[in-house]
Subunit: 103 residues, 2 copies
DNA sequence: GAAAGTACTTTCCGCAGTGGAAAGAGTGTT
DNA sequence: AACACTCTTTCCACTGCGGAAAGTACTTTC
């Protein structure tokens, strides 16, 4: 019941969760949403890519270079497994949460 | 939306979850369940106590010294907040860490 | 066309955290 | 006296994390 350390680091957990919710996300969007510096996101992006969890796509918007991140299938599987492990750890506590009502 | 670092460390998350599920737990039981060495549990126990999250009770069973851990109210509140934060991070992906409570 | 800006990447640096082994401490047993 | 039990503390090595600053590769502005 290991908690994958690649995902467990708080910043990466947020990055991976974000990517799990979106199809693809821009570098700047992820950086600002997660609230880290350029260098930190760049490094985590590389770490996640090296782990095979995210694909990094580089392209242009007009003449400006842009980078997009996207979860790979492997990354999605790892995230799912991670969350399942979390559930197993936390579940015995009987905790429940009130879901957000998006009204 | 910070993930309390006192709880986030994998070993301590397991310890705190375990204690959230039980009234009180013995040192040896926690050590074996979580799968850490004596020294590691001792240190995490102290860390959690220093944070005000667990109460450490010492006593005897027969003539043998025993140590029990128990979540404090503060520890329970911190754990709840931690899980809610996790849920907020993970929820957009459509996965859940703990079941929803529909009130 | 030199300087400034954009969008990252890499290097540098320091610091904190983790875990196990080993040694220690207090008490009980033989 | 020697050993066992139940932790606690010290020691040590490793890793990881994060920001700042410098670097890269263009593009835009003046």
């Amino acid at each position: 019941m290991e908690l994958d350390p690649v995902i467990h680091a708080p910043a990466r957990l947020q990055i991976v969760s974000l990517l799990a919710a979106a199809e693809e996300a821009e570098f700047a969007f992820v950086r600002d949403t997660v609230g880290v510096s350029d260098s930190v996101l760049s490094k985590h992006g590389s770490a996640l890519e090296a782990a095979g969890y995210v694909a990094v796509r580089k392209g242009y918007v007009g003449k400006r270079p842009k980078t997009w991140f996207k979860l790979t299938n492997e990354g999605r599987a790892a995230f799912t497994a991670y969350v399942e492990n979390l559930q197993r750890i936390v579940a015995p506590s009987g905790l429940t949460v009130v879901p957000d009502r998006h009204e």
